[in-house]
């Protein structure tokens, strides 16, 4: 191939490849590739281009109009002939979501567009330098070999973009509107409202008081819920995995049973088990001469019961994970420790615990953050009760997420709910990012 490239190199006219193909690609996606005689790639890109043009012409202007105005026509009655007919106006919420969908689609196409221009430029440059371009098959081969990570994550990422990022953007946008139950589409149009809801939550005493109280309990709840599950699961895992404990399989199966029962069922069951009047727990207690305990009706006891129930439902998963990790610890580490004369506690402290923590530490932070969002247990066990007269639409055991639920589903205060949602999101994001950073450092310095 060398003599061919040398001949091409000699001709000054051919120096234009880079520029021409890039410019062609800017004009029409895939055209540069066509010029570079990469037909397979070009056809794929041209098809995408056709879809992109359709999107940009048919959908995008409407999407942008929708996002900016949130609809202009109200649902109203119009006289047609002799009778009044209801004319459906713009549905602000549908417009907002559809607008977001098309803007995101356009962003996907735009990023492919950028890659297309870069590719055309690079291929043109290669031709100028006398290199031979990949055939379509070679391109695919190259991508499979050297662009594997990007290819492999692109499909999940598109799913995440539309089913996670889009809804989040939607929720964030809601916080800046006046979307409440008294102002619902399609009867009414929704307007942009700026930061007013944010101001209200922090300025109005009734809101801010609830907000701080609920936030404090959310953190306490997450802390105790995570800690109890972890140490409970750890303890049980250690006991079960002792070499001389028999029926290991049986024990593990027993402990996992609560997990096998759908959470909403077991929580509803436990709610009855802890029922203050008829519940079996209080019945057993009264048999032992202990007066009934207000498990779910006293604020402090209700909080305690929540943590207890969460522990019962949560520790089996922790135990499973920890058993999984324990099974990866090389036997010879313990054998070496035995030879060195280490006691059981010493082995636990210097081998088992660090190994478990190595895998579990980032997960524990995530558990903590997950518990801050642990809707099911609280909603199904106490429903946020007992009632707190000082709070705005929240009970004593409500955490931020259940308060958010009440605000949106029960009270229809969608914009307030969105502000709470954003607040939760900011806290969680801060924890998660801190966690990732720390984990990375952890790994680079790790000796495992």
């Amino acid at each position: 191939m060398r003599h061919v490239s040398a001949a091409e190199h000699a001709s000054p006219r051919l120096r234009q490849y880079r520029k021409t193909s890039a410019v062609l690609s800017v004009l029409i996606m895939g055209l540069g590739q066509l010029y570079n005689r990469q037909y397979g790639k070009a056809i794929c890109l041209l098809l995408l281009y056709a879809a992109g043009v359709y999107l940009a012409v048919a959908k995008l202007p409407h999407a942008i109009w929708a996002l900016v105005t949130l609809g202009e026509t109200k649902t109203h009655l119009e006289k047609v002939g002799k009778i009044y007919r209801q004319i459906n106006g713009d549905h602000s919420i549908y417009l907002m979501v559809e607008g977001l969908i098309y803007v995101l689609l356009a962003a996907v196409v735009a990023s492919i567009y950028v890659l297309n221009v870069k590719d055309a430029y690079r291929c043109g440059k290669r031709r100028e330098e006398g290199g031979k371009l990949h055939t379509f098959k070679q391109t695919l081969q190259y991508a499979a070999d050297y662009r594997f990570p990007q290819l492999a994550v692109s499909i999940p990422m598109i799913g995440v973009l539309f089913f996670t990022v889009m809804p989040i953007l939607f929720m964030i946008l809601l916080a800046f509107t006046n979307f409440t139950r008294s102002n619902m589409p399609p009867a009414n149009l929704i307007d942009w409202h700026g930061f007013e809801t944010f101001r209200n939550i922090f300025k109005l005493r009734i809101w801010s008081h609830t907000f701080y109280g609920v936030t404090l309990w959310t953190f306490m709840w997450a802390f105790f819920a995570t800690l109890t599950c972890f140490f409970g699961g750890f303890a049980v895992a250690l006991v079960v995995q002792q070499h001389d404990i028999r029926f290991k399989k049986f024990w593990r199966t027993v402990f996992i049973l609560p997990y096998a029962i759908p959470m909403f069922i077991s929580t509803l069951i436990l709610r009855n088990v802890f029922n203050g009047q008829f519940g079996p727990v209080n019945q057993y207690l009264s048999l032992m001469g202990i007066s009934k305990i207000p498990w779910l009706s006293d604020p402090l006891w209700a909080k305690f019961t929540l943590i207890l129930v969460n522990f019962l439902l949560g520790f089996p998963v922790m135990m499973l994970m920890i058993i999984g990790i324990l099974s990866t610890v090389p036997r010879d580490m313990y054998e070496a420790a035995d030879i060195d004369g280490a006691g059981a506690f010493q082995k636990l402290r210097s081998i088992t615990f660090p190994v478990v923590m190595y895998s579990m530490a980032p997960l524990l932070v995530m558990q903590f953050v997950g518990n801050m969002n642990n809707f099911n247990v609280i909603y199904l066990l106490t429903g946020g009760n007992p009632v707190n007269g000082d709070y705005q639409f929240a009970g004593h055991t409500d955490i931020l997420i259940t308060w958010l639920y009440k605000l949106s589903m029960d009270q229809g205060q969608y914009n307030f709910a969105s502000v709470i949602g954003i607040f939760i999101f900011v806290i969680l994001a801060a924890f998660a990012i801190w966690n990732v950073r720390r984990t990375k450092a952890f790994k680079e310095e790790g000796t495992f």
Partner: protein, 278 residues
């Protein structure tokens, strides 16, 4: 020597007591449901845990008064398909993040972790409208897509697991000429059976027991899943039949428990130790 025997004995005794007490705590709710499901009548409360009379009428009611078989078939279909697609997506994502270094990797990982923490139901309104746009409302495909699309967000556990697999093993396979997918399927996966089992269990129980989202999407009775059907049963205050509901719960818990029993042996045993090539 004698003191050591005593110590071992005490440790074992306490261990067994500890396990037994924990087991009772764990089994109590399950037993409660089981016993309720064979108790005559339809109320929640009972005088004793053990019913004085046994009946299987509630199980029969499930199949005669409710489309329970249909719900079961729907649930299995949805769970199996979303387990396969969700597991593939999350394992691939975790594998890529664990084994490869590429531009934007750190940021992408942070982003996914943060997104995974997002409270679900605020997003349901938006997803509902998106599914409406795609003409997927009241279809099982909608539940499958949403569940599979959410799976990669929970890549962290799998990634930590892949991190413990020696890189030299993967590099050796690459040098021997295996492609990335081949390495993943034939070298890494066999070493990751416990992880695989865990991921499959997680991805299976999710759609199997989710009722909040499925309830939103699946509207007609013949499209319902077990969880939606049971939840509607439990929350229908006009004709609440707790005992029939309990029978349904037993039938939901049984396959998951069986699945776990079947897969359990993979969760045990040494893993990457000694598997390092060379």
């Amino acid at each position: 020597m004698a003191s050591k025997t005593v110590r071992t004995l005490t440790r074992r005794t306490f261990s067994y007591i500890f396990l037994a007490v924990t087991a009772v705590l764990c089994l109590y709710p399950a037993l409660w449901v089981l016993m309720s499901s064979v108790r005559p009548g339809d109320t929640l409360f009972s005088e004793s845990l053990l019913p004085s009379q046994f009946t299987l009428a509630h199980y029969r009611d499930l199949f005669t008064k409710y489309p329970f078989m249909q719900w079961y078939a729907n649930t299995l279909k949805i769970s199996v398909i979303s387990t396969i697609s969700g597991s593939v997506l999350v394992l691939m994502t975790a594998y890529v993040f664990s084994m490869f270094r590429f531009a934007g990797r750190q940021n992408l990982m942070s982003m996914l972790l943060v997104l995974g923490l997002f409270p679900g139901f605020m997003s349901m309104i938006a997803i509902y409208i998106l599914l409406n746009q795609m003409n997927l409302l009241n279809t099982h495909l909608a539940v499958i897509i949403v569940s599979a699309a959410g799976a990669p967000l929970f890549f962290l556990f799998s990634k930590s697991y892949f991190d413990t697999i020696p890189r030299s093993l993967v590099e050796a396979a690459r040098i021997d000429g295996a492609g990335h997918l081949g390495t993943f399927a034939r070298i890494v996966m066999p070493l990751s059976k416990p992880l695989l089992v865990f991921v499959i269990l997680m991805n299976f129980t999710g759609p199997f027991t989710d009722f909040i989202f499925a309830k939103l999407v699946l509207r007609t009775p013949e499209k319902k899943t077990l969880a939606v059907g049971l939840y509607d049963m439990a929350t229908d205050t006009t004709k609440l039949q707790f005992t029939v509901f309990a029978a349904g719960c037993v039938l939901v818990a049984v396959p998951i428990t069986l699945l776990f029993l079947m897969l359990q042996r993979y969760l045990i045993g040494g893993l990457t130790s000694g598997a390092d090539k060379g």
